[in-house]
Symmetry: C2
Subunit: 414 residues, 2 copies
């Protein structure tokens, strides 16, 4: 990974009303020939107030790396876990969050083949994506189809690769099967629904908040409100249960999920969103969640003919070195995209400076599809009706007034 | 299931030296027109001494059932667990053990389509297979290929269906993958090895007792003795581990198996042979084993990208109603058999009256491939060198002399 020169970071707290124009421009060399860039910096683990847009030294590509002028970044539930420090072995803050982006190749390191300056690319990054420029190993970079926009590309990689690998690599989705997905309205949920539609006669049960139902009802076969007992509801339609259950641990327990599986069914845990809380004691919440997750007796799996799997795409890429497998999956996904069988759903675009509001939206599960940080976007001006209502997404301290406007500012809907 | 008329059972303790000729003949109506048959009866849970060959009322097929004149039965490790009562919810003894057989259709019940009198068939049975005649629902009966012998057929169904479903339904075995199988010399192990050879470039790691290595070394890629630390040995060859690990819980713990999996790897538990002990307190041994099985935290699976599955073919068939799926698997297997890509390995044939010796052999893991009860076989006469050495497979009481000859009587090797 490129050195980010963290100790040279100059924190420049962003003031929306005065600096929009200046901040939105590319940052050129300031003093002494050192190039700088804007980036979202997490100063320490905790609430939204730990996030700032700051100037940082621009990275340069090392051997085998590609330097990307970032156009758009994906915002995922996992980023909220990073912010709260509730992931396994997080790096030490200050850090720049963000695991995926799209943009244009600005340069390549030594011995770096496969990409040229000017190429439109999408990439996985092991942190540091939420910046104007990022460097990442060539193994994690993919060419974008010509007809794909940058925001689509930033919405594509993580969600579709994860959905595809869970359905087709971990489980073995085939004709006539049934799939239940929690958070059907989210980025992964929408990717799952689209990929299921590429296989004949697959029944998709989706769970989502009521207010999303109108928008996503055509993407799934059956839709349930997250407040109903989904086990009962699914069993009314399919008494035997489902073949594949995708769970980001939205406050449910594994036993409940396992009980809904057909024999030979797969329960796949692909996240742990119940570890993001609105409370201040995030570490203790995390520890509590960890220990409260119901452990599974393998002999019970034997008697019931059931499968339980965990899936973490980022660990697969960055800890377990499965980049060639992921590239083969990306190739298949880009074929499906070319055939217009799949298309990422973008919920909204946000300026880097609006990252807190974007996080609040994903925390409140307000999104339908993916939230994108659009690096070139100017923050939406405050509206007259804006209140100073307190944010609930893990705030630890009082924020200055005018920075708590998440509920009232309308995002730009793509 | 057909009524077996358990209360009419007449225990006729078998005396090898005097009754062989008579017992081997088909039993015709004795008195009052009631047809009888020979069957292995388990009088109660416990050691080998609980098994007897007895006369029982012959079952007649109910609606939807096929009546089979049994030629050969499969003997599986599971039958030892049944004998000790260490399976989940065993039926109440006295009972006739046995889950699979081959033979000739003798009649069919009302509304039973697909089979005719005289058809050569193999079948799954929910107990009662170890008898001269058995009735089982038509859903569990399959036509035998013309060139397949009855002993091959009795060795085929359970082992190959289980091996196929684990490799291709639960896991997703594909070109270039690696598989580790415990008990590589057993019936399932040999089926796994053969099925792996139908996929290009699959590496099979087998574990078996040293004395079997010469016989089975050509069936697997790498063979380890069961006394070595297989985790270390596999990692010397494949530092990343294996893609699929098939474990019948041969005294190992699940954590050890999981640690040997590659990311996205499958750990499949398909039995619990460590629950069969030589001790008398079988229930307590069972309970101890159950609780000692290491439970799995789903979040660990998430972080490590691993899959743990349980597979019980009998539960799938008899409790979970997956007979049509199993039939489709059987169709594929019979294609592979016709193409001479797979062939069941028969270890030895035993008369019904030799069931104790056969059980002792599987308990001692002396077998290479499948043990078959050949219903028409006469017990092998005692040899001059026969001793009265005490059996070790779960004996609770002293047996009469002359019935403890398992170590000295040579089985008929097919």
């Amino acid at each position: 990974m490129a050195k980010e020169g963290a100790d040279m970071t100059e924190e420049t707290e962003f003031m929306i009303d005065t600096t929009v124009g200046k901040e939105a421009e590319n940052v050129e060399p300031s003093s002494g020939g050192v190039k700088e860039m804007r980036a979202v910096v997490l100063a320490g683990f905790g609430g939204l107030n730990k996030l700032r847009v700051s100037r940082k030294t621009m990275p340069e590509p090392q051997e085998g790396e590609v330097k990307i002028r970032v156009k758009a970044c994906g915002l995922n539930f996992l980023d909220l876990m990073v912010r709260q420090g509730t992931i396994d072995n997080p790096p030490k803050p200050p850090l720049v969050p963000g695991f995926e982006c799209s943009g244009i190749v600005e340069s390549v390191g030594e011995n770096t083949k496969g990409f040229e300056i000017g190429d439109r690319v999408m990439a996985f990054v092991n942190y540091n994506a939420w910046a104007e420029v990022v460097c990442t190993p060539v193994d994690f970079v993919y060419m974008m189809p010509d007809e794909m926009s940058f925001s689509e590309a930033a919405a594509f990689s993580l969600n579709f690769v994860a959905a595809y690998m869970m359905l087709f690599e971990v489980a073995n989705l085939r004709e006539g099967m049934s799939v239940l997905v929690h958070s059907a309205g989210g980025g992964v949920g929408q990717a799952v629904a689209q990929l299921c539609s590429t296989v004949p006669n697959v029944t998709v049960f989706g769970i989502a908040s009521c207010f999303k139902h109108a928008a996503i009802k055509d993407s799934v076969t059956h839709l349930f409100d997250r407040n109903v007992d989904y086990v009962q509801e699914v069993k009314k339609i399919s008494p035997e249960g489902v073949d594949i259950l995708l769970d980001c641990l939205c406050g449910e327990n594994t036993g409940k999920g396992l009980s809904l599986l057909k024999p030979l069914g797969n329960y796949i845990l692909y996240g742990a969103s119940n570890m993001v809380t609105g409370e201040t004691k995030s570490f203790f919440s995390f520890a509590k969640s960890w220990w409260q997750v119901e452990k599974v007796n393998p002999i019970k799996l034997y008697e019931e003919n059931k499968v339980i799997a965990g899936f973490s795409l980022l660990n697969l890429l960055f800890k377990q070195g499965r980049c060639s497998l992921v590239r083969s999956v990306m190739d298949k996904l880009l074929c499906l995209y070319d055939q217009k069988k799949i298309k990422p759903v973008v919920d909204s675009l946000w300026a880097l400076e609006e990252v807190k509001e974007a996080m609040q939206r994903i925390h409140d599960r307000g999104n339908i599809g993916k939230l994108i940080l659009d690096v070139e976007k100017c923050p939406t001006p405050l509206m007259a009706s804006d209140s100073t209502e307190t944010s609930e997404a893990g705030e630890e301290e009082e924020e200055p007034e005018g920075d708590n406007d998440s509920k009232e500012r309308m995002p730009f809907i793509h």
